[in-house]
Symmetry: C2
């Protein structure tokens, strides 16, 4: 079978991979599509070489079909359409025992810390599979993993119908949060500085704002009868995002920190006191977030496919990753791993 | 009657005040004791002259006895021992309508934004009075207002029995949080750099740690089987406190921001992502926090009086405030407003 190995130094090599027979509790999947995540791009740029084991197959936003099951597997059967929750937790640490295995203190993220999905067949534990109804296409199903991130973010922020949500950052995760928030009955505004992304968001029917061209605080205050937003989703991981997020909220408003900040940031803590704000970290997803993402996708109300900007064959994975370079308009790029 | 007016420039003037007859919904209190808060010391130092109306009677940690009631008052009667929740809210803004009148967008804090308690008689709205059982002394009752702050902080942090709480800062509020947390069944450690405060905390039976003399993160990790604290109460409003608070917590741990930071701080947001931390702002109190503080005080299990470091007569208010100057060992200083 074909498998794409990240080889370091912005290079993938397509070589013959090894199909792994599923052991006890394991399942072999024929991978259909696997999306490219921002984290995959970080790996491509060499900034995560300490976590990957070069050469390594990466990729974690996978859809596929079960082709073989190991002993003791009873949650899926051969032929099932599935998506993968790419987490490997210890099950024994205090965090796992407290029911928070998704942030297990020794969590291994599949496709980063271990072999991933950019290959024709992927053998994984059955416990991380979620079945998809037949009406979901395998291409759309590859968006369920990032949609589960968005569902987790909404849940962490306790977003309710009728609330006003500001989403700082209109990349794929920001747009998925926007879709899920709108579907949940919230009013949504997306703040973004990239004109292509702004246009895409507008085409999807979202209100947008370019904070380089106006005062976003004044805009949000005017839109909320001078009260402020209920929830801010910070998805930019930028210093301007960190600086403005506390300014946009009403008293008792919530910040959901979605962006991954590699550097400490300057934060207005007085606003936390004065308005009794909350800031809530959000990382990956829990099983119920995947269930919700599958449900939303099956209902077909979200314009998920609108964020797919390109589909490349596994044999073109180098070009797929290079499509993000420079002043790119790429949003969500999928790699078709199934070979005809 | 005697009344102490803050006159600007670190000066109080004791002059004849005017007793105010209670109007509709109002109550005249004979003030017994009023504690000096950190905020009062800020006023004394001139840094809040924009909010006070010099010359002004300040003070807001008051106990007293009802001596006269206006029309329509049915929650207290003449002779009742009471404490004052010194908040004046509009009742009409979206924050008040959402049930959060304690952070009303046009909140007036009595004793800062309007006349306070450093006088023999104080006329206030009946809606902010909490009755005290007879077994609470009026001197101890003056600690109920800061204890209500501590009760609010615990509630904001959702502290539960058996949890491990780190309290950064061992001043009066830090010690009151520690008392309430211990009474709630939490394990408590107080981090403090002032040797006098450390000794006082030790004398009250608390575990303490001086972060200038050791690695507090290593200490907390060792004490929690390498997991981290459940809740950090940040009461120092210091840059080192802001820097360390995210390091001490377990996954899904909570920070309660109690200290009032006048300057933005450098915060490790990666820790919020990685451990799904929460940071919760806390400001003053809600009615139920006062009820809880009255209840805890009436039960007599908290060593509240241990933090009273001095009692001055209203005629000595200048000395009372000056007792905090320099390398002071003053903790909670009370002003006796009742004149014999």
């Amino acid at each position: 079978m074909k498998a794409a190995y990240y080889n370091g130094n912005k290079e993938f090599k397509l070589t013959a991979g090894t199909e792994v027979a599923p052991g006890q509790g394991e399942v072999k999947i024929k991978v259909a599509y696997c999306g490219i995540c921002g984290t995959d791009q970080h790996i491509f740029h060499g900034v995560m070489d300490k976590r990957v084991s070069i050469p390594q197959v990466i990729g974690h936003e996978a859809s596929g079909v079960v082709v073989e099951i190991g002993s003791g597997v009873d949650n899926v059967k051969v032929g099932d359409k599935v998506v993968v929750r790419p987490l490997n937790w210890c099950g024994e640490c205090p965090t796992c025992e407290a029911g928070n295995s998704h942030i297990c203190t020794s969590l291994k993220f599949m496709g980063i810390d271990s072999i991933g999905a950019f290959q024709e067949y992927w053998t994984v534990k059955a416990r991380i599979l979620h079945k998809c109804p037949d009406n979901i296409s395998l291409k759309t199903a590859a968006l369920i993993e990032p949609l589960a991130v968005a569902c987790h973010d909404l849940r962490r922020g306790r977003l309710k119908a009728g609330e006003y949500a500001v989403i700082l950052g209109g990349g794929p995760i920001g747009l998925l949060i926007a879709m899920a928030a709108r579907e949940a009955g919230a009013k949504v505004i997306i703040s973004e500085i990239n004109e292509y992304r702004l246009k895409l968001a507008v085409d999807m029917g979202f209100e947008t704002f370019n904070p380089l061209q106006g005062d976003i605080k004044a805009h949000v205050m005017a839109a909320t009868a001078n009260t402020g937003a209920d929830v801010v989703f910070e998805v930019t991981a930028s210093a301007p995002g960190a600086a403005i997020m506390t300014e946009l909220l009403r008293p008792r408003g919530r910040i959901v920190l979605v962006g991954i900040y590699s550097q400490p940031q300057t934060i207005n803590l007085f606003n936390f006191f004065w308005k009794e704000l909350e800031m809530i970290g959000a990382r990956v997803y829990e099983p119920e977030d995947f269930d919700q993402a599958v449900k939303l996708t099956a209902e077909g109300k979200l314009p998920l496919e609108d964020i797919i900007s390109g589909v490349y064959n596994l044999t073109e994975i180098q070009q797929a990753f290079e499509s993000f370079e420079g002043n790119s308009t790429a949003m969500k790029v999928l790699v078709q791993c199934e070979q005809n």
